[in-house]
């Protein structure tokens, strides 16, 4: 909310300057987001009078003016404004001054061959408002030659963020009250005198929706002249960012900005019959003041007459019943609307307004009569006319809230010792009534006060939070105990293992374009946002690979030869009861060159599926998985190359990871050049250590005798999984065989068609005695026999 210092000082007697007031506002919870001093940007502009205006000899839309500046000879100024004319007063900028709106320095120049010595300015050029239809017209009594900043009484403008719990401070008056409580000056309460009016109100006013509109007060003023509002009012409105429109509209805006109290004025001539607060009918429409038509429903409260809806209650008036310059009789409406109803209606209609902001936060329910009196007084004073008596339909909820307060709570919750007298002073200054027994009656405008904690907040914010003394939390004895969960420990190990293996950790968006998400969803139902920020950020990711793949593509597009990326994050699925099922996952994408071409290594090497397998195994090992028990199986998913991908499982069901080369269609969908390797570790599938693991390792018992190795070469069918052969061989004699390692795989010349030669080094570990030749022979025979079950024959 914006307001000028001059306006604030109307309600507040203080010697404090703008900076001191801003500091006080910050201290008591009204954050000052900016102070602007228009005097600075208006310096150099002055009040000037147009003496003559003649058409420009060489341009239809321009005029050549002679302008009296207050000193020296009149100046010649070229001007394009249609309202420039002899005799008018305006604002002149002389060469050397800077135009606030565009930062341009004015110069003496020739415009279409005619010398121009300055510029007559519009409202917008001086950043005083939006208007740009012509140059500023000042009243006839404006002193020619006076600095415009001085004439305009330019006053610093505060921009204050009012928190949603304080609608009472969405008016300058409320802010002044808070400042006074904080010791900044004394309050100038506005004396409000009821205006009785003459004669009954000629319009029937009713509320047929006491839930939505508990109170609707109004009166008619006849015989008004709706010209411009006075300069003092316009200045305040402009400073507050509100464009002056007409006296009556300005007066209602003034009431809102000064007292946080929205009200509405109807042109009586445009109303027929009783004016009623009621529920809208489904499908009923209204054209609002913003010239948009809204379709209403029965949950919405409106103000209507016999002809139809004239006002979306508490949010925006109607276009057709608003006041105009020609209006002579007005009906004033000041009502209390249910905050929740306003909020719901505003949200449904997607319609924001200053009135809605105040009504949905809660206006002062005890300010209807006063607000109407202020409104009436201003209109009678500025526009003339005769007021009728007031009609009061319904009654606002003003039952006072009383809170039993214990002033010791201030130190117990707020951590500040504030003596009771000071607490009483603060609450009283904020208009709370504090009884001797600390029963605190809240002013009805303070909807935010719900209980004792709120009163503590009032006391400490006014007393000053600077007084809060740091108090150590009680600390458990001894060294801090570990707090991380098993999953957190696994994630930390994985993160640093992956980085140590040369992978860079990325953080990519949790959301994906729907087609990318679907490509990786494997038919699982996706979470798709209702209101995404863009189509590219619409579906929650079912895999970490797409985000990393897109990052790899961006890297390649930037000319990177390779990307080695990993991410630890969640995949999002649907759980039971409509909740989400978020699964912790580690993703790896390796794209481009595994190794650049080199003087020693020759051509560049690309990543292959075994690189993916190596990462998967190394990371699973880092996560504490017994990798020797893992089985390599298929079914990595349709996103992978069917012949160059696999899964790693503990048992045949529990898939811990998938890895391999991505499918060419996946690469095409992401517009990435291949080959690209990917790995996904499913961290939720990693079995927890039994009992959380133990510190003591199993006993160290190195074998007494040295192991021996024997090499075997087999011819196997080319489609046999070598891993199966190795597993079979290891199982041939579980006592003697401790390892079997493939050291050569060959197909081609010398090997029959459809066959592959596989060479395996078997490690045999003797127990207490060295193997005899006969024993070695027996084990060898077992190995050959076992291999034969897989169709392997020993090569001669």
């Amino acid at each position: 909310m914006k307001f000028s210092l001059e306006w604030l000082k109307y309600f507040l007697d203080t010697q404090a300057d703008a900076a001191e007031i801003a500091a006080a506002l910050n201290r008591i919870g009204h954050e000052v987001e900016g102070i602007e001093d228009p005097a600075e940007k208006l310096s150099g502009f002055r009040v000037a009078k147009v003496l003559t205006a003649k058409p420009h000899p060489d341009a239809d839309k321009l005029q050549v003016l002679t302008v009296e500046t207050g000193d020296g000879d009149p100046l010649q100024v070229v001007c394009g404004a249609p309202n420039a004319r002899a005799g008018m007063l305006g604002v002149l900028g002389l060469p050397g001054v800077v135009v606030p709106a565009n930062g341009m320095e004015l110069r003496k120049s020739a415009i279409r061959g005619v010398e121009s010595n300055g510029m007559m300015c519009s409202v917008r050029e001086l950043e005083l408002g939006d208007e740009h239809d012509g140059i500023i017209e000042l009243p006839e009594d404006a002193p020619v030659g006076q600095s415009f900043a001085e004439y305009h009484a330019a006053s610093p403008v505060f921009d204050v963020a009012i928190t949603p719990n304080r609608p009472d401070c969405m008016g300058v008056y409320g802010i002044a009250r808070d400042l006074v409580a904080a010791g900044v000056g004394t309050f100038n309460p506005v004396a409000i005198e009821a205006i009785a009016g003459e004669g009954a109100c000629p319009v029937e006013i009713r509320t047929d929706d006491p839930d939505g509109c508990p109170a609707f007060y109004g009166r008619v003023i006849k015989g008004v002249t709706n010209g411009s509002s006075p300069a003092w009012m316009q200045r305040r409105l402009i400073a507050a960012g509100q464009r002056p429109i007409s006296a009556i509209v300005d007066i209602t805006n003034y009431l809102m900005l000064a007292f946080g109290r929205p009200a509405h004025a109807y042109d009586l001539a445009k109303l027929t019959g009783a004016v009623v607060a009621r529920r809208a009918a489904n499908g009923e429409t209204v054209e609002a003041l913003n010239e948009k038509t809204y379709t209403l429903d029965e949950s919405m409260t409106v103000i209507a007459d016999d002809a139809g809806v004239h006002d979306i209650a508490g949010i925006m008036g109607g276009e057709h019943s608003g006041v105009t310059d020609a209006t002579t009789d007005v009906l004033l409406e000041i009502a209390y609307f249910d905050p929740e109803r306003i909020s719901v209606t505003g949200r449904k209609l997607g319609l924001a307004s200053d009135a809605r902001t105040r009504f949905e936060r809660g206006v002062d329910p005890a300010f209807l009569d006063d607000g109407l009196a202020l409104l009436t007084e201003l209109i009678l004073r500025i526009c003339g006319g005769k007021a009728s008596e007031v009609v009061r339909a319904g009654s606002p909820p003003i039952a006072p809230k009383v809170i039993a307060f214990d002033p010791s709570l201030t130190s117990r919750l707020g951590g500040i010792e504030v003596d009771e007298a000071e607490q009483r002073r603060i609450l009283t200054a904020l208009d709370f009534a504090v009884a001797d027994d600390w029963q605190v009656t809240c002013p009805p405008r303070r909807h935010d006060i719900e209980g004792p904690a709120d009163l503590v907040e009032e006391v400490v914010r006014i007393h000053g939070l600077d007084a809060v003394q740091s108090t150590p939390l009680p600390r458990a004895e001894g060294v801090a105990t570990p707090t991380a969960t098993p999953l957190q420990i696994i994630e930390r190990k994985l993160r640093r293992s992956a980085a140590a293996r040369g992978l860079s950790e990325a953080v990519t968006w949790s959301f994906l374009p729907v087609p990318q998400a679907e490509h990786f969803a494997d038919e699982a139902p996706l979470w798709v946002l209702d209101n995404p920020i863009s189509e590219d950020m619409k579906a929650m990711r079912p895999s970490l690979i797409p985000g990393l793949l897109s990052a790899a593509k961006r890297n390649a597009d930037r000319g990177a030869a390779s990307s080695r990326l990993f991410e630890i994050g969640r995949r999002y699925f649907r759980g039971a009861d409509g909740a989400s099922d978020e699964r912790p996952t580690l993703g790896v994408v390796m794209a481009g060159e595994k190794r650049a071409r080199g003087w020693a290594s020759g051509k560049a090497a690309m990543f292959d599926a075994f690189d993916a397998k190596a990462e998967a195994l190394a990371l699973l090992e880092a996560a504490g998985v017994p990798t020797q028990n893992l089985m390599v199986m298929g079914e990595a998913g349709a996103q992978f190359h069917p012949g160059q991908s696999g899964t790693l499982r503990l048992g045949s069901k529990n898939v811990l990871a998938r890895f391999g080369t991505l499918h060419p269609t996946t690469l095409k969908a992401f517009d990435v050049d291949g080959p690209v390797m990917a790995v996904e570790l499913f961290l939720d599938k990693i079995p927890e250590k039994r009992g959380g693991g133990s510190f003591a390792r199993s006993a160290y018992a190195p074998p007494a005798l040295q192991a021996i190795t024997r090499d075997f070469a087999f011819l196997v069918a080319s489609d046999l999984a070598t891993g199966e052969l190795v597993r079979t061989i290891k199982g041939a004699d579980k006592q003697a065989i401790v390892d079997a390692r493939v050291f050569d795989v060959f197909a081609g010349q010398g090997v029959p068609e459809g066959k592959t030669s596989v060479a395996i080094e078997v490690t045999l570990q003797p127990g207490e005695k060295s193997f005899t030749d006969a024993e070695i022979k027996a084990v060898s025979e077992k190995i050959v026999a076992a291999a034969a079950k897989r169709g392997a024959e020993l090569r001669g």
């Binding site: 928190t163 150590p472 458990a476 950790e505 209101n531 630890i568």
Partner: protein, 366 residues
């Protein structure tokens, strides 16, 4: 000159002249072999009288030892020369590059989260987590933001069309605060947790991204007040920035889930055009920076979480993790955090061995 002297001189001359190990070997055979000339002299000792032997014996033995030494000396010299020649032929140009190994890195967000976990573990806080796809009860209602609460509208929430089994609207959590509720419901009180994680707001411009990271802190116990909150934040920030001159300014504010609510500013100073935290924000050349929101947990929130506000009270706070990373490590563009640019990750990422520890300091210095 005796024959022995002649033989020795001849042998030494020829041994010294031998250029190969093979030549040397044939000289050894010639002199010391079974048929060798020195061996032949040794054999003559047997046929000598005792007197002769006494005078000739030592000479002949000395001759043998001398020749033998000359042979082994020359052999060592020839071998050394051969090794030198071999090594000379094996010279590598070590200005050529060694094989390269890729260098990985840890993302600044993870690094900072690990730092937070380390610092808060020392203060007795555990790390809690909760779902990112939340329901509106946990994200709003239980945090004292009813359906029509204006603050709800200010959250720029991403919604899903779905409702859960209890009819609650599903959404992306807008803050980590729902973890407060879930943790209190699950664990009761007393409780000390931090809850770092991803949060989402439908907001995107130079300084906002639709996804970012927050860390929530929650302490519920008996007798906890604003002074404890201030101490906790001061202690944390001093440890995090490894500076003793961190100064906080508490300002009243409003959050529906805390009462009283406090906005916390931290003092900074201008160091070569960069804002560096530390010092009193009111001092010349200093300023205040809004850092986080906090307050005493609203009694209603405690009730929603099943705790009795007459018995328990405490504080909560929330800070942007990305922001903390930027302030500490100097990144200036939030959007780059989520791009996966290999160059940025190499520049701002951390070595895997920068594991934060209290003994080495939780921060990683360059």
């Amino acid at each position: 000159m005796s024959d022995i002297d002649t033989l020795e001189t001849d042998a030494r001359t020829r041994i010294a002249a031998a250029e190969t190990l093979a030549d040397l070997e044939s000289l050894r055979v010639e002199f010391l072999g079974k048929q060798g000339s020195v061996s032949a002299l040794l054999k003559t000792l047997g046929g000598m009288s005792a007197e002769e032997r006494q005078s000739e014996g030592p000479k002949i033995h000395a001759l043998r030892a001398g020749v033998s030494d000359a042979l082994s000396g020359r052999k060592a010299a020839l071998e050394a020369r051969a090794l030198e020649a071999q090594l000379a032929s094996e010279t590598l140009d070590l200005t050529l590059p060694a094989p390269e190994a890729p260098r990985g890195s840890v993302h600044p967000v993870s690094q900072v989260m690990d730092e937070l976990a380390e610092i808060f573990a020392d203060l007795g806080f555990a790390v809690a987590t909760g779902p990112e796809i939340e329901d509106d009860w946990h994200n709003f209602t239980a945090l004292n933001m009813s359906e029509t609460h204006p603050a709800r509208a200010m959250h720029d929430t991403f919604y899903f069309p779905d409702v859960d089994a209890e009819g609650r609207r599903m959404l992306l959590r807008t803050h980590t605060s729902p973890v407060q509720i879930r943790s209190m419901v699950a664990q009761g009180a007393p409780i000390r947790i931090i809850a770092p994680g991803r949060v989402y707001r439908s907001d995107s411009d130079a300084t906002h991204t639709p996804m970012f990271h927050q860390v929530e802190g929650l302490v519920i116990d008996k007798g906890i007040h604003l002074g404890h909150l201030k101490w906790t934040l001061e202690t944390f920030l001093k440890a995090f920035f490894e500076r003793d001159d961190i100064v906080l300014r508490l300002r009243p504010s409003y959050f529906p889930f805390t009462e009283p609510s406090v906005e916390v500013d931290v003092g900074w100073q201008d160091v070569n055009g960069r804002r560096v935290l530390g010092g009193d924000g009111d001092a010349p050349g200093h300023g205040w920076m809004e850092l986080l929101g906090s307050g005493m947990v609203n009694a209603r929130v405690l009730e929603f979480a099943g705790l009795d506000p007459a018995e328990w009270q405490g504080f909560a706070f929330g800070i942007g993790v990305d922001r903390l990373a930027m302030l500490k490590y100097g990144m200036d563009d939030l959007r780059a955090f989520f791009d996966g640019d290999q160059r940025w990750l190499a520049h701002y990422g951390f070595s895997p061995f920068d594991q934060p520890t209290l003994s080495a300091g939780v921060g990683a210095r360059t």
